[in-house]
Amino acid sequence: MNLYKATTAAIAFCAAGAVSAADLEVTHWWTSGGEAAAVAEFAKAFDATGNNWVDGAIAGSGGTARPIIVSRIIGGDPMHATQLNHGRQAEELIEAGLMLDLTDVATAEGWADTVNPTSLLDSCTVDGKIYCAPVNIHSWQWIWLSHQAYADAGVDVPSNWDEFVASAPALEAAGKIPLAMGQQAWQSSGAFGVINVAVGGPDLWNKINVNKDADAAAGPEMAKVFEAAAAARAMAANSKVQDWNQATNLVITGQAGGQVMGDWAQGEFQVAGQVAGQDYTCLPGLGVNEIISTGGDAFYFPKQDDPEIEAAQKELAKLLLSPEVQVNFNLKKGSLPVRGDIDLTAANDCMKKGLEILASGNILQSGDQVLSADTSTQIEDLMVEFWNDPSYSAADAQAKYAEIIADAD
């Protein structure tokens, strides 16, 4: 029986989906217009192998979706594959032996040679084994600027953060919101991180987030960052939307000057038919330090007992990193591919900028890669309060922030 099972599994795996046709339930939280179009690329490619992609989209942000994903895995009802941000979110699940080891796929496909930057694969690796398939690089380090808003206000489109701050009064005078911000916690925390890197520099960011240096977090350099964030907060005071894509929409329609948001915002501009450089401008690293943070999404495959399913899981893992799928998916998603060896001629200006920075190696790890979920949510709680409560002083917030870093594990 076991031998039989093992043989079928082996055959199924080698025959690459031609034999096994399994339904795989895949959970993810890609539900906005651009995201849904991108995930459809995965589904299409997977269905083409004779398998069946059963979509388990979970609406809302990762914050809503992750609990559902994790509680299902823990509750003994794992999905067949799931999106998570690569990094520390799945650490304990892997240690508890709940995730499928993908090392054989990775070796056969030569992920070690093609995945760029290699830190992505490191984030998937526990004890020398690979447990996830990174699918894209999402950098938080961008600001998106509306040409229309600046034209209406009669000022030039800024080329860096300082100019952006300087142009805010002119925008306000023209009845625009200088900075569009959604009010969800992860957006507050993310925007703060970007300002942190731009104003304080990557070294400071690394010191605090990677080395958990609480003194640096409480220091004068960081105080400047908090002051800058407080100033940004004032600029976003009239932005009363919840979702990130509603905030992006304010920029698209010229009601707001800019939005600090990761490169997934690009998908929304694309869906709205806007052209980079013509209708909007993107500044990596807020135009201060051109840098890419290498966060992103990865797929994890919870362990199943069924060899047929396991074969299909591995098939999917392989497919996610295949050059063609990488191109199609990332073009729709507005993210950067995880492979350094593919040609993205179809990419727009912003993506090309990102690719150049990536190639030059000007990279930074993402918060998901270095902070535990617990620490991240503590920072999110702090930031969402800070951004939404004008009476919360920069100094108080910094003190609280330093406390969290001191306790971080």
Binding site: T31, G33, A59, R72, M79, N245
Partner: protein, 313 residues
């Protein structure tokens, strides 16, 4: 405290208003009308918003009746609204809710009625202790028990898989949620049935015992037919309670099996481009329709049902 006499049929006891247009009467009806406006406003706003097109919403006001009535939002909410790449609207959630509802109601009431029957007529040593724990349990915040229940369901699912030899999963399946609803409905339903059976004349029970009738015989042949009114109350209580549940739905099901309330929240809060308020309101109305129909159809029985169940929160 749950068997509050809700005797709405009794006559009003206040002083009889003498003339039609006394200042008192104007005050009285004035206040009632203002209050009625507050209660009716959301229903009205939901209704008119769901019948408008988006341009009309953007430039009109929430209270204005629709200039051009369109049923498009209703169609979209029911059959087309998207969460992710699944664009089959609320219909899926509706059928999930039905599938969750029917077994949950049947099983929870079956178990609780037997509990109530045993507790009132077949008391055994410790039965009162269990009952007290059960009632106390009605007040424990669900949050305290949710996580261990996830583990219990996983273990139970694995146990059943071992016994039956097929893969059975309780967590994330409709049956897991049915069990959870049965557990959390038990305190109130048991109390309801216990009090009802306790009021049955004892002679009836004793006579049956003398005739040699056993536990189940008495239950099915004597008690069940007598208890129909209380069953109706229990059904109303459970149907509305389970239909309106959100917390358990979120935690114990998965997107495929999401009940309607959870899917509603997802549809409304997953934005693609512009928020379609008309579709959202149509979806909201659709979700509220089932309990509303029960409410309007069952009249006073509804009040008895919810009065019995209010302890559940």
């Amino acid at each position: 405290m749950t068997d509050t006499p809700v005797a709405l049929s009794a006559a009003p006891r206040g002083t009889k208003p003498r003339k039609r247009l006394t200042p008192t009467n104007i005050m009285l009806y004035g206040t009632l009308f203002v209050a009625a406006l507050y209660y009716l406003l959301p229903l009205y706003v939901m209704m008119v918003t769901s019948l408008k097109g988006m341009p009309e919403i953007r430039f009109g006001n929430v209270f204005a009746p629709p200039v051009e009535i369109t049923f498009e939002p209703w169609v979209k909410a029911w059959a087309e609204a998207c969460t992710g790449i699944n664009c089959d609207g609320l219909s899926r959630g509706f059928w999930n809710s039905v599938q969750i509802l029917v077994p949950s109601v049947v099983i929870s009431i079956a178990i609780a009625s037997v509990n109530g029957y045993a507790l009132s007529l077949w008391k055994f040593k410790g039965s009162e202790v269990f009952f007290t724990i059960l009632i106390f349990g009605a007040f424990i915040p669900y949050q305290v028990m949710i996580y261990p229940i996830v583990i219990l369901l996983r273990e139970a699912g694995e146990g059943l898989s071992l016994i039956t030899g097929t893969k059975i999963r309780l967590m994330g399946s409709i049956w897991g949620l049915v069990i959870v609803h049965t557990i959390f409905g038990m305190p109130i339903l048991t109390l309801l049935f216990r009090n009802y059976f306790a009021s049955v004349p004892e002679e009836l029970f004793k006579a049956a015992r003398v005739d040699g009738a056993g536990f189940w015989q008495i239950y099915f042949q004597i008690m069940l037919p007598m208890a129909l009114p209380i069953f109706v109350v229990a059904i109303i209580l459970q149907v509305t309670g389970i239909w309106n549940d959100f917390l358990f739905g979120v935690i114990f099901t998965k997107p495929d099996t999401y009940p309607m309330t959870v899917q509603l929240n997802n549809i409304v809060n997953s934005v693609q481009g512009v928020k379609e308020y008309n579709v959202n309101m149509a979806a909201t109305m659709l979700t509220g329709l089932v309990p509303l129909i029960i409410y309007f159809a069952s009249g006073k029985l509804f009040v008895r049902g919810i009065a019995a169940g209010a302890v559940k929160g």
